[in-house]
């Protein structure tokens, strides 16, 4: 294939002036931007969010190359409950009815604690301190009133004093 063919593009052009084509394209692009909020704001939001991250002190604490870094993204009661499971070196656990009933708590604990497995048949049970269990206490965690819990997640832990890890027969 010859070089001349490289610049060949088949197109049925019109005899109208170029400025008309460009004006039409500009008008259509303007309409698109006017009708889509994401088009207008996406670039600004991206720039602002990335700049804020680059300047944020928290960013400098995030270490890509350290195991478990970034777990702070979990709500503190969840994070400390997972640490309770790790500290006691257990391999599997299950959740009390109150904890299972809250999808947020249940999912965050199960995926956050992995590879400690969630198993319905496990003898280790995690329950809130105010839940009655007929099992032997292994360890307990008292929630710190100073923990900062995001407003949307606060209702899940309202009135809860802490959690207990118990071993059931």
């Amino acid at each position: 294939m010859g070089e001349a063919e490289i610049s060949t593009e088949s197109e049925v052009g019109s005899a109208r002036p170029d400025w008309l084509h460009s004006a039409v394209v500009v008008a259509i692009v303007v309409v698109a931007f006017a009708m889509n909020h994401g088009l207008r704001d996406g670039a600004v939001r991206l720039r602002e969010a990335a700049t804020a991250q680059l300047l944020s002190e928290a960013t400098h604490r995030i270490n890509l190359t350290s195991p478990r870094s970034g777990e702070i993204a979990l709500t503190e009661p969840v994070l400390h409950t997972i640490e309770l499971l790790r500290a006691n070196r257990i391999e599997s656990f299950r959740l009390s009815p109150a904890m299972s009933g809250e999808e947020f708590v249940r999912q965050r604990l199960i995926e956050g604690a992995w590879p400690i497995r969630f198993e319905e048949s496990s003898s280790f049970l995690i329950a809130y301190l105010d839940e009655y269990t007929d099992c032997a206490l292994v360890d307990r965690l008292d929630f710190d009133p100073g923990w900062r819990i995001p407003r949307r997640q606060a209702p899940f832990f309202a009135g809860r004093r802490g959690v207990q890890l118990v071993r059931c027969p």
Partner: protein, 465 residues
């Protein structure tokens, strides 16, 4: 920066070269391949098919370390084959590249956009619901098992949706495996691995200032929220748009780089989410429609030596082997989808269809969620303008328009048949599931705008038209 992330581009490009081996001669010797848009299309296509081939290794070999070892050997072989094809093609090279200034300007713009997204991807830990509970929890399961096996509790942990395609989870698990630990940020770099080839691929279509700016804005800004937070929807939208753009231009020009990018993007879209498999069907129907239009109106012009049918079939096979393998594996492991898209869904859909307001609420949620009017209205205006100004409608437009329309109808059908409460399902997902519809309609609008801008005598600065 982690070594895992630094080595990933070389590894994936090498595997891509090996996977595309039968097409390398055609890619290296195509005269149009020296144009920057074809170079970008080829590089993006090689990266994308490398990602797919890597996933295929994990799906077939199961063990992450074995897949990595085999992949490394393939990557070395791929670079050898690539260099050999490049050297052999030198004899056919004749003149300097016809560089297009706008492509380089847009390359800088897109590089900046990728950098900004990279900052968010690499500095913000996983916080969003589906990212934590689905994609990266699956990755965590694969990482700690050291393999993708049926022994993992895919079906018991229902919220993890174990049946979902495994491209993002396997990539994330591999990155953590190479690093040797799990944390809440490094596995997220799998998103960056997906973003880079998509960005390079998008640049390959930006030859003119206005339409180029439109394409970049429509693909990278409405998807702002879902390109960095660990959701797969933004990437499905990007790769679906890339697929229709690349296959559309391939139908017009028969350049092998476009075919490679189009098929690899199709494979990635089908490997990201279940909707990707449906997009595959839409793209196939769209391609058939565009091919029929091209046959009826043979005004298109191939400006490259087309890839041979066997090499094209090979690339298609590598691209689609991953989604097919996962579908077979998923069925073998007894993993079913929570939407239960079967006979029951059809009954639900038909009853909901007759329910007053249900269809309207779905259409409204989809149109409002992703502001679809922002793509469909410009598309309609561009179509009218093309007709009035007697500008040729590119054949690829029929692919994009058909695929987008079918996809829209299909997503409406999925919502009609959902076993979940409709209002809840729409509220939690419509804005995300409509993104690929927005992206494909935008791609169709771009194809028309590009043709409108490409009026006779208006050559882009510094390059051929």
């Amino acid at each position: 920066m982690s070594a895992a992330l630094e080595l990933a581009p070389l590894y994936l490009l090498g595997i891509g070269l090996a996977a595309a081996a039968p097409m390398l001669e055609a890619l290296a010797s195509a005269p149009a391949g020296r144009r920057p848009e074809q170079r970008w299309a080829t590089v993006a296509g090689l990266f994308a098919i490398g990602i797919l081939a890597d996933q295929l290794l994990v799906l077939w070999l199961r063990s992450l370390s074995v897949a990595l070892a085999v992949g490394s050997v393939l990557a070395v072989a791929g670079f050898y084959l690539g260099v050999r094809a490049r050297i052999r093609s030198k004899a056919t090279r004749s003149s300097a590249d016809t560089a297009t200034v706008w492509i380089w300007i847009f390359t800088l713009c897109v590089a900046t956009i990728v950098f900004l997204y990279a900052v968010l991807i690499l500095t913000l830990p996983l916080t969003h619901w589906d990212a934590r509970s689905i994609w990266f929890f699956q990755a965590k399961i694969i990482y700690f098992a050291g393999a993708l096996t049926g022994d993992s509790p895919w079906s018991t942990l229902e919220f993890a949706h174990g049946d979902y395609p495994k491209l993002i989870p396997t990539l994330a698990a591999q990155l953590a495996d190479v690093a040797g630990f799990w944390n809440e940020t490094l596995p997220k770099s799998a998103l960056l691995v997906l973003l880079v080839p998509a960005a390079i691929g998008v640049v390959a279509f930006t030859r003119r200032p206005l339409s180029g700016a439109f394409l970049i804005a429509t693909l990278f800004f409405p998807t702002y929220g879902v390109l960095w937070n660990g959701y797969a929807d933004g990437y499905l939208a990007l790769y679906a748009a890339l697929c229709v753009l690349a296959l559309g231009r391939w139908i017009d020009r028969r350049r092998p780089g476009d075919l490679l990018l189009g098929l690899a993007s199709l494979g990635i879209a089908a490997s990201l989410k279940h909707e990707g498999s449906f997009f595959l069907v839409c793209a196939a129907v769209g391609t058939a429609t565009a091919a029929a239009v091209a046959r009826a109106n043979p005004s298109t012009c191939a400006d490259s030596r087309p890839a041979g049918p066997w090499s094209a079939a090979w690339i298609a096979a590598v691209s689609l082997a991953g989604p097919l393998t996962w579908e077979i594996t998923r069925r073998a492991w007894g993993l079913t989808n929570d939407l239960g898209l079967s006979g029951r869904a059809i009954v639900t859909a038909s009853s909901r269809f007759s329910e007053p307001g249900a269809l309207a609420s779905i259409v409204k949620a989809l149109f409002q969620g992703a502001e679809l009017a922002g793509a469909i209205v410009p598309l309609g205006l561009a179509l009218v303008a093309a007709a009035c100004l007697r500008v040729r409608i590119p054949t690829g437009f029929w692919l994009s328009a058909t695929a987008a329309t079918l996809y829209l109808v299909g997503i409406i059908g999925v919502y009609l048949g959902t076993p979940h409460e409709l209002a809840w399902h729409l509220a939690t997902s419509a804005d995300r599931t409509a993104l690929p519809i927005f992206a494909i309609f935008s791609a169709a609008a771009f194809q028309l705008l590009d043709s409108l801008e490409k009026s006779p005598g208006a050559a882009p600065i510094g390059g051929a038209k």
